[in-house]
């Protein structure tokens, strides 16, 4: 993983250098001077350094970096610079007001919709996007939901006039809610509620599970045949669902395999191995119990919110808070997330809580920056402050994960983004009401 990144970085660096002179003239050149810089890259944390941004990219970072003529200078004394946070799971841009169906585009009808793309429905003018980014989140994965294969998720930059401008990855992967043997049980015990979901016999749940897994295998097998048929005869009638699965069966497009319980994760990993899929576990509430397996298979995890109640009545009260610590100890790569569109802004506190319950500070920061970048396959572009990467930067007056910390400046793709939101506008308006 390390090597290709370095090579790509180098290529980026060359490009950035070539563009540097021209960009300065257009005034897209910034220098954040004398700040504490948390690169989360090979340079570690630099107590007093300068970050130079040229034409959307990081053109230099370090103590003695030369500031290009004409650069807009930001005095970083007393401030800290972090790479923009990346939220690896959400419905941002797909859901505006939860209770109003007309504003929800995340869940389509039908069990198998591999050809649907979140990109198509993302609302670039959603009020949630500015509200999210001003807390230092510069990219978020928007994932469809519903059915077994909900569609493909899109990785968004949280600034842009159109979704074309915003998409970092039009398709980041296929969303597959792996059939569960435990979900019925989970919903019964979850949230401390009593009663709740209706009881189904285990035999019944298992029958349904086997039927669903067979459907999935058949679908993937059909995609293999389809691929061969199209290869042999380009005139073969098109099937957009199977077509969408071709990069999946070839291991080119990752699958976000949603599974939470120990048993479900094991089953999902078995399935992935059999079908030779490239997978990321999403959810992973009991990923700590499958640590060895995930480590051996080198499968990363995109965790659901850890600021959540335990699943079972007799689980430790902090069962979810300590999950990141346990995964780090097991050597599993993971990302932390805050998935509901109106709560993505709380991503840094997911990491803060993880640290409070045993994760190291560096691992906590990585879980919302470099790790999601690596898991989503975009670490060559984003996730750390390194020359050649896209300039997604957050300038704060303190620890990024602390609640009281204020974001002072925000750069997305090298653009100095306004910190105004619907919320700040209403705040100003009504604070000044006579």
């Amino acid at each position: 993983m390390k090597k290709p990144i370095t090579l790509v970085n180098w290529a980026f660096a060359l490009t950035a250098l070539a563009l540097a002179g021209r960009a300065a003239a257009e005034n897209h050149v910034y220098a954040i001077r004398d700040a504490k810089v948390h690169t989360l890259g090979s340079s570690g944390t630099l107590p007093r350094a300068t970050v130079v941004v040229v034409d959307g990219k990081i053109a230099g970072v370090g103590e003695g970096v030369k500031i290009p003529a004409g650069a807009q200078i930001i005095n970083g004394q007393g401030l800290e610079v972090y790479p923009g946070m990346i939220n690896a799971w959400s419905n941002l841009g797909l859901t505006e007001i939860t209770s109003v169906p007309a504003t929800n585009d995340a869940a389509e009808l039908g069990d198998y919709n591999p050809h649907l793309l979140a990109f198509t429905a993302i609302h670039p003018a959603s009020e949630h996007i500015p509200v999210t980014r001003v807390n230092g989140i510069t990219a978020s994965l928007s994932a469809p939901s519903g059915g077994i294969i909900a569609g493909q998720a899109t990785l968004l930059h949280l600034d842009g006039w159109t979704v074309d401008e915003m998409a970092l990855l039009k398709s980041a992967g296929l969303v597959l809610d792996f059939p569960s043997l435990d979900a019925a049980q989970r919903s019964r015990a979850g949230g401390g509620g009593r009663g709740g979901a209706q009881r189904r016999s285990f035999a019944d749940i298992k029958r349904n599970y086997e039927k669903r897994v067979k459907e999935l295998s058949d679908l993937l097998e059909a995609a293999r045949h389809y691929d061969k048929a199209r290869g042999a005869n380009p005139g073969t009638e098109r099937d957009r669902k199977l077509e969408a699965l071709v990069p999946v069966i070839k291991g080119e497009l990752p699958v976000f395999l949603q599974a939470d319980s120990e048993r479900d994760i094991k089953n999902a990993v078995d399935f992935a191995r059999k079908e030779k899929l490239k997978v990321v576990i999403q959810g992973g509430r009991e990923a700590n119990k499958t640590g060895e397996l995930l480590k051996r298979e080198n499968i990363p995890v995109i965790l659901g919110s850890i600021v959540a109640l335990p699943d079972r009545e007799d689980d430790p009260y902090d069962a979810r808070f300590t999950l990141p610590r346990d995964l780090a100890r097991a050597g599993i790569k993971f990302a932390l997330t805050s998935s509901s569109s109106s709560e993505v802004r709380n991503l840094p506190y997911e990491a803060g809580f993880a640290e409070a319950y045993g994760l190291s500070h560096e691992d906590a920061l990585k879980a919302v920056t470099l790790n999601p970048a690596e898991i989503l396959g975009v670490a060559a572009k984003v996730g750390s402050i390194e020359t050649g990467k896209i300039a997604d930067l957050v300038v704060t007056d303190g620890d990024l994960l602390e609640i009281r910390t204020q974001v002072k400046h925000l750069f997305i793709a090298g653009k100095n983004v306004s910190l105004e939101t619907k919320h700040t506008r209403l705040y100003e308006k009504y604070l000044n009401r006579p």
Binding site: V307, D314, Y317, S342, N346, A356, R404, L426, Y430, L431
Partner: protein
């Protein structure tokens, strides 16, 4: 079935072990004296003592200050490097209720009360306690313009339902405005029939009608009492009506109104209505648009109990801003931050910190949002809400400043007794793990025995002796 029995056994043992460990008798010293020593004390009422001690006598705070010493026989808790704050008071919670919190069948259900359904075995009591909560205002749901009566409890985990009641707390009742009461039984393809009201006009009408009825009811009783006192032997007492009695208590100022509401206009509606009938709203709950009419809320004298930063989950929450608490505070409203969620309750201290980030409240103002202010709103501030001599020793000890994202509660005391201790919790987990494994092992052995055909026993005699029921 076997599995269910095993699970049930595990749960019972889990609960029992917590109960055992947190038997308050064993937590308190025999003399009822405890000293929390050398901690940073966030009093909320009178600033921060950088290094001080708190003496607890018989469940009450006896002394607080930099020079307080341990009397002979006191249990000493070393607080060095740690932070003590008043126990968190959650002004809006639905934990510890059995069988639901929404009696949604009628538009007015003032005759029902949460005090009748307190479930002292709900594990969320322990979970919220572990997050520093010591008192929770358990409210009826928001399905009706006038809902049921609420109950303030202390999270004395291990006590029975009666032991959780916050004794002496002023009674209250839940009202609800807006989307919830008007849509809870909406017309359309539903299995339940539509229920009036379906609009905000109807919500106002239902509340107004109920209070007119309550006034008439009071008048009838007054007339009867006058006639009876005058020796009129034919005077017949009116029929008692539990619904109207609760509302009469509201009109007499004896029962606090906690009204769920979001939009500015409907909050003003209820203020107008309350002014007209001559009573006060104690708290507006949620009140996410409170920042738009902070002046009017302050003028009425109502408190506002809101969320830190939730928004956009429904239309009436689309103008919610995280600066709500700060604006209302600046404009003279008594504000608290509540959870409305067993999960959110576990980090109300950190939710309060968000009001420093959004709107710039001070540390003291932020801490008051989850301690002293809700105590005032619930009229129990003489008992709890700050660290002052004479108040109940409801305290939380944190490893870091409680407004930090990194703070974890280490010990939680109620009435001077330790109900949560993070170290004890870890010990209990090992104990439970051992017990769980033993049970699993026993279960496995039983199954093995049952599988062997030669060991199959006949049915127990007491079963064969009983005749099978004729049907079923």
């Amino acid at each position: 079935m076997k599995r269910n029995v095993l699970t049930a056994a595990l749960i019972i043992i889990a609960c029992a072990s917590y109960l055992l460990a947190f038997d308050p008798q064993s937590a308190a010293s025999s003399a009822g004296l405890t000293l929390i020593k050398d901690a940073t004390i966030l009093t909320v009422s009178h600033g921060t003592i950088p290094k001080g001690s708190i003496l607890i006598r018989d469940g009450k705070i006896a002394e607080v200050g930099p020079e307080v010493k341990a009397p002979a026989g006191a249990t000493v808790i070393d607080g060095s490097g740690q932070y003590v704050m008043p126990g968190i008071i959650d002004c809006h919670s639905h934990i510890a209720t059995a069988g639901g919190v929404n009696e949604g069948s009628l538009a007015v259900t003032a005759m029902v009360g949460v005090e009748d359904v307190i479930d002292s075995t709900d594990i969320n009591i322990y979970r919220d306690l572990a997050g520093g909560v010591t008192s929770s205002n358990i409210l009826h749901g928001s399905a009706n313009p006038i809902g049921g009566r609420n109950q303030l409890i202390k999270l004395r985990w291990g006590k029975d339902a009666r032991g959780l009641i916050f004794e002496g707390a002023q009674p209250g009742i839940k009202f609800a405005l807006g989307e919830n009461p008007k849509r809870s039984r909406s017309a359309g393809p539903s299995t339940t029939p539509a229920r009036y009201p379906q609009t905000r006009m109807g919500v106002e009408d239902v509340i107004r009608e109920a209070f007119i009825e309550a006034r008439t009811y009071m008048q009838r009783w007054d007339d009867y009492k006058k006639r009876a006192a005058g020796g009129e032997r034919t005077a017949i007492p009116p029929r008692r009506d539990l619904k109207l009695e609760a509302l009469a208590e509201v009109l007499r100022g004896e029962r606090l109104v906690h009204s769920h509401g979001y939009r500015a206009d409907e909050i003003l509606m209820l203020i107008r209505l309350a002014d007209e009938f001559g009573f006060k709203i104690a708290t507006f709950q949620h009140v996410l648009e409170g920042y738009k009419i902070a002046r009017e809320i302050a003028a009425h004298g109502a408190g506002a109990s809101t969320f830190s930063d939730w928004w956009a989950y429904k239309v009436e929450a689309y103008d919610a801003i995280p600066h709500n608490a700060a604006i209302m505070t600046r404009k003279g409203v008594l504000v608290s931050i509540n959870s409305d969620s067993a999960e959110e309750a576990r980090h109300l201290n950190q939710e309060a910190a968000k009001c420093m980030k959004y709107g710039g409240l001070s540390e003291q103002e932020a801490l008051a949002l989850v301690t002293l202010n809700p105590a005032k709103q619930l009229r129990v501030d003489r008992r709890v809400g700050s660290i002052d001599p004479g108040k109940d020793a409801d305290l939380v000890i944190y490893n870091r400043h409680p407004l930090s994202v990194y703070a974890v509660a280490q010990k939680v005391l109620i009435d001077g007794q330790v109900y949560f201790d993070v170290k004890k919790d870890l010990e209990l987990r090992q104990f439970m793990e051992k017990e769980r494994n033993e049970l699993k092992e026993k279960d496995r052995k039983n199954q093995d025995r049952e599988r062997r055909p030669d060991s199959r026993r006949g049915p127990p005699t007491d079963v064969t002796a009983t005749a099978a029921p004729p049907e079923q």
